[in-house]
C-alpha cells in the first residue's frame, strides 16, 4: 500500500545501516585474526550502498505501485554489496606466533580502529535519524486517521 511507502523507505535505510554496523562489528572482532577459510589473515569488509529506484530490485518491506502521485520518488536504499578491502596485511614481528613466517613476521589484518569507530558512529547517527523520520511518518498517518472524527 502506498501509504506505507515513506515508512518502507526509512525501513530500508534502517536495515542498510544495521548491516553497516554489523560489518564494523565483524571487522573489529577480527582485527587480530590470522587464519580464515580463504587462507591468510582476515581482510576488512566494506558495505556499498546504492539507491533503490523505480524498477530496480524491489524494496523488501513493501511492494509499491509505480503509478499516480509519487511516481519517481526513490524507494530508499539498499546495501548492494559487501566488498573485501584488499589492502596488503600489516607485518608484525612476532617469532613466537604459530603463523609467523621464516623471518618471524606475522601477517595481521590491516584494520584501523579509528576508521571503524568513525564508521560505527556515522552508521548509528544515520540509524537514529531514520528512526525519527519513521516516527514522523507514523504520526502523520495517525493524524490522517483522525480526519472527520469528532
Amino acid at each position: 500500500m502506498r501509504i506505507f511507502a515513506g515508512m518502507a523507505t526509512s525501513a530500508s535505510a534502517l536495515s542498510a545501516e544495521k548491516l553497516r554496523i554489523d560489518i564494523v562489528a565483524k571487522n573489529v572482532a577480527n582485527m587480530n585474526t590470522t587464519r580464515t577459510p580463504e587462507g591468510g589473515p582476515y581482510q576488512r569488509r566494506k558495505v556499498v550502498f546504492s539507491e533503490l529506484v523505480e524498477g530496480a530490485a524491489r524494496n523488501r518491506f513493501v511492494s509499491l505501485p509505480s503509478r499516480g502521485v509519487g511516481r519517481g520518488v526513490g524507494r530508499g536504499v539498499m546495501a548492494s554489496q559487501v566488498v573485501v578491502d584488499d589492502t596488503p596485511p600489516r607485518l608484525v614481528h612476532d617469532p613466537s606466533h604459530p603463523d609467523a613466517n621464516a623471518e618471524g613476521f606475522v601477517a595481521m589484518p590491516e584494520i584501523n580502529l579509528v576508521n571503524e569507530m568513525v564508521d560505527l558512529i556515522t552508521a548509528t547517527r544515520a540509524y537514529e535519524t531514520n528512526v525519527q523520520v519513521l516516527n514522523a511518518s507514523k504520526s502523520m498517518k495517525l493524524r490522517a486517521l483522525e480526519i472527520g472524527r469528532g
Partner: protein
C-alpha cells in the same frame, strides 16, 4: 475554473505525504555515494496561479524535482540531514494543520446535515 476548498485541502494533504516520502528517501540515502536530493514543489505554483486568478487543476499537480547543482561531500552526495530534518518538522506541522482544517470543514458539514443539532 474555481477549485473546491475541500479538493485543495485534499491535494495539499497528498502533497505533504509525498513530501514526507521524498524526505524519507533523501535521509535514507544520506550515505549513498553520488545520490542527489529530490524535493517537491507545489505551494509556489498554487500561489502564483492564485495571484494570476487562474487556478486550474494542472496547478494542483505536485512537481518532483531533483537538485543536481550542489554537492555536500566529495562523493557527490548532496543530502544535508539537518536541512531534511527541518523540512520534515515543517512538513509534519503542515500536514497536521491541513488535516485539522479538513476535519473542521467536515464537522461544519455534519452540523448542517444534522439541522443544527449536535
Amino acid at each position: 475554473m474555481t477549485v473546491n476548498i475541500n479538493e485543495l485541502l485534499h491535494r495539499s494533504l497528498d502533497v505533504a505525504a509525498l513530501r514526507q516520502r521524498t524526505i524519507a528517501n533523501n535521509v535514507a540515502n544520506a550515505n549513498t555515494p553520488g545520490f542527489k536530493r529530490s524535493f517537491v514543489s507545489f505551494e509556489e505554483h498554487v500561489q502564483g496561479a492564485m495571484a494570476r486568478r487562474s487556478l486550474t487543476a494542472r496547478d494542483l499537480q505536485p512537481r518532483l524535482q531533483q537538485d543536481r547543482s550542489t554537492s555536500m561531500r566529495e562523493d557527490g552526495n548532496n543530502v544535508s540531514v539537518e536541512h531534511e530534518m527541518v523540512l520534515m518538522a515543517a512538513n509534519t506541522v503542515q500536514y497536521q494543520a491541513l488535516a485539522q482544517q479538513l476535519s473542521s470543514r467536515l464537522s461544519l458539514l455534519r452540523y448542517v446535515i444534522n439541522d443544527g443539532r449536535r
